[in-house]
Homo-oligomer: 365 residues x 4
């Protein structure tokens, strides 16, 4: 079926995520060793596709790459070629430049494009597929909120980093009788907070999916005090919200341009708690970019390798317009049309929330 495939291209889009290089390595090795495909990599995500800026990928390029964080192809965060900022007559205007990309692929003789990215990057991948480009997607997000797949690479490394941070905060909280808050990533989905909270022995976990009541947090603090525990550890996803309405970041930090950087829900909560629980110091740490870079963990190295190999196999099988997935322990695939628009969230009634509650963790609901 795919006899004519001779050359494939790769690109990586969106934020950093441990495992990107491992996917690049697996795709390149598998394509060359098993099918004899030529492999190139566009630099800076879709921008490189637009500018025809690419490098050749071979066995030497990807040697020793499986464990390295980042992406040797670089990435760009918000470049959407279907609505791309170009300069015309001195003004920056938005244009659909996707035809330029399609033409670049044609000129270079690229038969298939493998796109490694999250929701935004894969939406463009679907749109290119609709235009007739042969596309294969590989799911990437440390938040683990992409649809159709049980798990995305990067997530496991991320929760390991967050758990280690919680282990460190634990000793200080216990010795100094503090209330310690750790804010982790997760704007729309609280998987990182939930899993690192369980593994790191948090007392309270706050998720975007379960609006919290601050009084319930105070109850938990008081209840622990009664049992001789003079400290409390709280993990909060950046997208968590109090029950009584939206968080006004403006109320926390007057003129911050970046809600991740200044303010944010962790700091709001610290402020709010300090007013109520007067005898305890409250400290908030925002884990930030530390949780998305660095050496890739074992689990994610294996998962990324499986995804990379599976992506090349899908090419061989002619399954274009689809994304590789993990379902249970099986690697499989789903169409990009199904993936986009079907992001996952933590199920407030699911097993893992239930497990957390059963060992005494409060969600302040």
């Amino acid at each position: 079926m795919s006899k004519e495939i001779k050359k494939i291209a790769l690109l990586t889009g969106g934020g950093d995520c441990p495992g990107l290089n491992a996917v690049i390595s697996a795709v390149t090795k598998s394509a060359i060793l098993n099918y004899g495909y030529e492999v190139i990599g566009y630099k800076f995500g879709y921008r490189g596709l637009y500018n025809n800026d690419f490098i050749q990928l071979d066995m030497t390029t990807v040697s020793g790459l499986i464990s390295r964080g980042g992406t040797i192809l670089y990435s760009s965060n918000k470049d959407n070629l279907f609505d791309y900022a170009v300069e015309e007559e001195g003004k920056v205007i938005k244009r659909d430049v996707s035809d330029v990309a399609v033409e670049n692929l044609r000129k270079e003789g690229v038969d298939v494009l493998i796109v490694i990215g999250g929701d935004g990057t894969l939406t463009s991948a679907r749109d290119f597929s609709r235009k007739g480009v042969k596309v294969i997607g590989v799911p990437k997000t440390i938040d683990n909120d992409l649809g159709s797949t049980d798990i995305t690479f990067g997530f496991n490394t991320s929760i390991a980093i967050a758990t280690e941070a919680l282990d460190r905060l634990h000793t200080t909280a216990e010795s100094h009788h503090r209330i310690m808050i750790l804010e982790v990533m997760g704007r729309n989905a609280g998987f990182i907070a939930l899993e690192s909270g369980i593994a790191g022995s948090a007392d309270v976990i706050l998720l975007p999916e379960i609006p919290y009541d601050i009084n319930k947090i105070v109850e938990k603090i008081e209840d622990r005090k009664k049992h001789g525990k003079l400290f409390t550890i709280i993990v909060v996803a950046e997208g968590a919200k109090p029950k009584d309405g939206e968080v006004s970041v403006a109320k926390i930090v007057a003129d911050s341009p970046d809600p991740i950087r200044l303010g944010g829900i962790g700091n709001k909560l610290a402020n709010d708690l300090e007013k109520i629980v007067k005898e305890r110091e409250v400290r908030c740490t925002v884990l930030g970019h530390i949780q998305r870079g660095g050496t890739t963990g074992t689990f994610d190295r294996i998962l990324s390798t499986r995804y990379g190999v599976a992506a090349v196999d899908l090419i061989n099988r002619g399954k274009f317009g689809s994304m590789v997935c993990l379902k249970g322990k099986e690697i499989t695939y789903d169409s990009l049309e199904n993936v986009i628009g079907n992001n996952k969230q933590v199920d407030p009634n699911g097993e893992l929330v239930s497990v957390a509650k059963k060992i005494g963790i409060s969600f302040a609901d």
Copy 2:
């Protein structure tokens, strides 16, 4: 159904495994907080059950326990109460003393026994179940070879340790142009070697399930040399075997009392390779007990917690004689009768071996 359950007991058997304490913690918390069960823990595995040697487990006992390696209940390796060494009239003879155990449970008012262990420990659990004791099993083995469950706790921590060791050996192999062998655990099943080998960028992986041809290893070394790679990393499971027959440990080490400690397949292979590949130094490291102790990894803390909570839920649901399992992403259970005798092995034609081969890893078959 289980209205009458008031008191449960726990024991841990077999070798060390990261996550034992996390299961103990989850069982205790979940049993007390959700069902009001009293919880005791027998010390030293079945020996404690025979000697009626136990401790009370409560919220304080298990505080801060989720990350700690080892087991606060201690363990014993080979105590089988159905064939137990007792001293009678100055001689040590083997007896079935299981009735003593059953009587101890009755006297203490223990309604259900949760047994955390591997194949041997769970075989006894099944046998107690056959005698009418209400038993729940929790699967434990770093080898990941127990039947009915996709994964056992401890395995992930173990492959992370082995992968880190491979990362370290890599720099030396590359700088000094060595052939480096790492021997990891796995007598009958090569899951640790396979997964750490992929994650740690091994060039050759040798498994019990795929007898190896030393000439194929030499071919791989030569092939790498042609591509400018003057070093080779080999991961070998302790149970790996050459195609041409059994390994005569006696031939390697004259009078060693312990094949794990002296000799072993890794050292045999090093000897054999040095005779053939004369221009390279060959070094073997036996990872040994380092891969089964210490701080429990994030993945295993979560899995152990899920297993512990599920075990208590099974009690509440009256599902005695069964073992908690993970199937895909779901926690479920199977009967101990099905579990015992159905150990898993790596499938030589399965996805993961295929993935490894596709990225160029040799199994020397």
Copy 3:
């Protein structure tokens, strides 16, 4: 000389610091095994001394303690018994209650008090020494800014954590062409920023001791760009200051009660740089309490053990009113009178700053 010493007491004061428990362990073991002293530990620092709140310390209490973060004696941050907040007739007023402490020591039969703490805690230790109490000090501060000693325990673990964070930020900075700022501790002294900056391959290091010129940072960024490096890593000590005057935290964050938590110099710098270097995203991570808790590193375990043993030896030798020190590779001591008021800072003309400059790191001076 010290024939009459029979009982000694320990207390820990100030913020958390990896190695506190290792000192407690070494003092206890050494005092009991070598001199037969009885050992007690006051809880919550000086507050416990005031309230006569203590525990017995023996070989069992300190078993397995060397690696554990935090302090089993707990700590308090700002309790100064020479100016202590007490309630009298419904009002909180400050009183000198040090006589109560002296009387408590007398009543319990405590011959010598070992005080483990930083500048504030040791100032009180000196004051108790002036009142005639036999005191030995042990230097503790992750900032490494105490006088008379080359190094304090906790510092090495702290820079290891900061370096690991820099390693993680590096991959993201490089892949995404970002300017990444890491704010580390150090209000008055920049040792953590300096050493983690060198180890973590920072391009710019900003210290309290060397006021910075933002234009020099921009020059560095531009210079790197010319050499094909589209990213820059900046480590900034929390006490770093721009040349043109004090940082007005108020300008950054309107109503934040805690300059560590909201705002701070790292975020100010991010704001300032984003206005100048428009084509790059700037991200700031504040490492916070993660850098002062958790498992103690190897170096600090050994140093803390040496300090603990030396403190007990000083008792035996009757060298009261002094603090244990490390000078070069020798453990020695200095009088608390000399220590207090002689805090260290990074020498802007010293070897380590010079080393950093010679490998191309900018201090923006």
Copy 4:
């Protein structure tokens, strides 16, 4: 004085050691940025100098190198150009080929040679210095036994790895009541065993410098049992010896070609102890090459950088024939003539052995 220096060369010799790349990086950056020297690196140690096999080193070559284990210049273990194996008329004979090396340096216009290595490599460096070559040495050995310097790079990373291994063995020893032996490197000097033993809470430390009495080890095991400690951790340096004479490795392992790999003192001790302490299982792990590779620790990154910068400064100051050293906290230098033949050993009456004894660690002496 050194106005004429225009080009310098680097080589790395001997076994792997974390920090080699960090020295290469610091030398290269400092030489280029501060003095405008051209820098080349000979590959495979002295062999590359003989074969005139080198690469150019510039800012790009060494970018991102500080943390990477191994050496980008590769190394060779036993190549001594003053007694070098060459093939003449079909036979391998040993010749002094140092003149070839001197001529190669002259032809390439290399003014100074920086040699990074241990005892053997630096002995040759001294010999080249005697022949009139301008040489600077940088001390490298994970064993930390080189004279004239307080500490060598690599040592700290090595004891951190050994300590982590001890932490892991601890949980298993405690849970399973085992006697656990860890054999670490150190043929002539026991620094690794001593420092990792203190940091990793060993109960017994065996050093080459303090011959051991096995009865004293048994006494320690019995004494611990009396205090309720049913496990014992022993760290043994590979060069440790029993009091009653040399270890006959031949007695342990009949025909092993490599005493590190098979047999060794750790395994001998395990055999011996099992015969005496019959009720306990004894397990030995040989840490091997894991302790000398992989990511370089924070301390060694800084020390290596200081050494590299200092080596270049010595060139500028014309201090040829010398080696950079650390004395206390100062970087200084000594002549290679003084360094060679003055290897260090652990002082059996020194502070660190005394500290270990005072906290209850036995040396079985």
